[in-house]
Amino acid sequence: MAFKIVVLAKQVPDTHNVGTGAMNADGTVNRAALPTVFNPEDLKALEMALCVKDRMPGATVTVVTMGPPRAAEIVKDARTRGADDGFVLSDARFAGADTLATSYALSQAIRQLGPVDLILGGRQAIDGDTAQVGPQVAEKLNIPQVTYAEELLGVDARTITIRRRLEHGTEYVKAQLPALVTVTSAANDCRYPNAHRMLRLAGEEIRMTDADSIGADLDRLGLKGSPTKVKKIESVVLAHKESVVLEPTESALNALAATLIREHIL
């Protein structure tokens, strides 16, 4: 049996370039109004997957993402970098999903692929920073998880050895496969798209998969399947302090320094 790897990826709004109209009235994200990128840590996960593939002859890498049809862009990108296959879970019934409903949909999609040896994904996505989906998919599939992975140290048909980040240190762990590993930004950068692959795959259609084809309980998908609700969103109104505005003149700065020293702040 060939070693099968799944990479969970997300197309995310480029949070460095957020404009107006980014939020819908119900507090969900208006993705149409934003430029998008391949979530950076998911790219690191893809690289780790491709490294495993390099070490395991015959291994395959399948990229799974959930999002609007244009999320096919990141699957295409992953294909040109070396992924063997990929598809987009795209269906209006997935919309408005929180992490629980998202991980349910992803785990159902993974189940359709038959036995999988290794699942990799970024630790977190830059649009939410929750780091929840990885561990939740692992729970739904009832497999071990290794989070905060920084380096792949070894892999064979039954185990994977990982260096992972702790708050105040490093841990070296060996996990039984199948397992799910989440990868941080400290891991190796992803290899570039390969020119030959780009030419060969130029016209490739990326497969779209809907809620019916993953055998999902519809009540556990999308907004309906999401226990977290946005009660309200508020624009931040800053409580204005009595702010003293200073011109950067010698006398003004001198007076400020003197005040801070006199008041024992400095």
Binding site: M23, P144, E171, V245, A257
Partner: protein
């Protein structure tokens, strides 16, 4: 009555981690407001003394699982014990630190219990909620407040229909406070079941290397922080010189960290550390809400920025409009003069 439960983490020394004491302090307030008990779950090996140290924070009941397989932390053994414990105790609220442990464990628990989990909350309150779609009214539920997407909004998240209501909070966001040094709590031993064997076998820790905290800005009295407006890693060095001169620590915004200007340990804000210094000098920082969440409780704030309308200026006591690379050396000279 369904209680409030805090999952407690242990430090490398075997004491209860600060983040967990902060959560117990907040948990006490929530439990008092709800008229229920505060429970703490402590999972580890030889942790009875650590468990007893929780009473002064107002913990009524420490649920204690003591087993060598529970230390050091590994996902599946802790998941196995805690998920069963929550099913048995039926708490209405469970709080976790947004640490490498809490962020590993809490989502797996939430998935198993099929309940909601809100990450990186900056405030937790009890309140009412009316669902606009169903018209249903909910009393006394957990309002989970966090800055959200894009940076200019604060979202209040609720989980009205599922229990427990779960949230993670970063270290330093809540205050750690002893509520009563003589508070009387009890320890309730939790039986560790045979099912732990399977969980125990899944992931093996080969070795661990623990580093002393090299950079720790959490307790700093004076902080000089730089944002993307510092322009480069080289320019950022000026902040280190400035900080050395005035005896401050150097902090940074996420944008500055992402740009590689300094180490991630210096990041202040919702996904970094929260600080409450006597003086915060914000240099080239526009003041996104996620950043302000981590520093707005500073006693005094000085903003140095070319943009007179930068959002940070609104919470600054002093705003100096000018280029950081000119203003900081000027100010350093003035400071030296005043010391003479």
């Amino acid at each position: 009555m369904n209680d409030v439960l805090v999952y407690c983490e242990l430090s490398e020394k075997g004491t209860i981690a600060d983040i967990s004491l902060e959560l117990c302090t907040k948990g006490r307030q929530l439990a008092t407001r709800l008229g229920c008990r505060l429970q703490a779950a402590v999972l580890g090996s030889d942790v009875r003394i650590a468990a007893e140290s929780l009473y002064p924070y107002g913990v009524d009941e420490v649920l204690l699982a003591d087993d060598p397989r529970l230390s050091p932390y590994r996902t599946l053994p802790h998941f196995d014990v805690l998920s069963k414990l929550i099913k048995a105790q039926q708490p209405q609220i469970v709080l976790f630190g947004a640490s490498s442990v809490g962020r590993d464990l809490a989502p797996r628990i939430a998935s198993y219990l099929r309940c909601g989990l809100t990450a990186d909350c900056t405030q937790l309150e009890i309140g009412a909620h009316d669902d606009p779609k169903t018209g249903k009214h909910y009393e006394d539920i957990l309002l989970q407040i966090r800055p959200a997407f894009g940076g200019n909004i604060i979202a209040t998240i609720v989980c009205p229909e599922t229990r427990p209501q779960m949230a993670t909070v970063r270290e330093g966001v809540m205050k750690k406070e002893v509520c009563d040094p003589d508070y009387k709590g009890v320890i309730v031993p939790v039986a560790v079941e045979a099912s732990l064997d399977a969980a125990d076998a899944a992931v093996e820790i080969l070795s661990r290397e623990i580093e002393e905290r090299k950079i720790d800005i959490k307790g700093a009295q004076v902080i000089v922080a730089g944002g993307y407006g510092m322009g480069s890693r080289e320019n950022f060095q000026l902040l280190h010189q400035f900080a050395r001169l005035i005896g401050a620590s150097v902090g940074a915004t996420r944008a500055a960290v992402d740009a590689g200007f300094c180490e991630p340990e210096r990041q202040i804000g919702q996904t970094g550390v929260t600080v409450r210094p006597k003086l915060y000098i914000a240099c080239g920082i526009s003041g996104a809400v996620q950043h302000r969440a981590g520093m707005e409780q500073s006693a005094k704030i000085i903003s140095i920025n070319t943009d007179p309308d930068a959002p940070i200026n609104a919470i600054a006591d002093y705003t100096i409009v000018g280029d950081v690379m000119t203003v900081i050396p000027q100010f350093m000279a003035c400071y030296k003069n005043n010391l003479k």
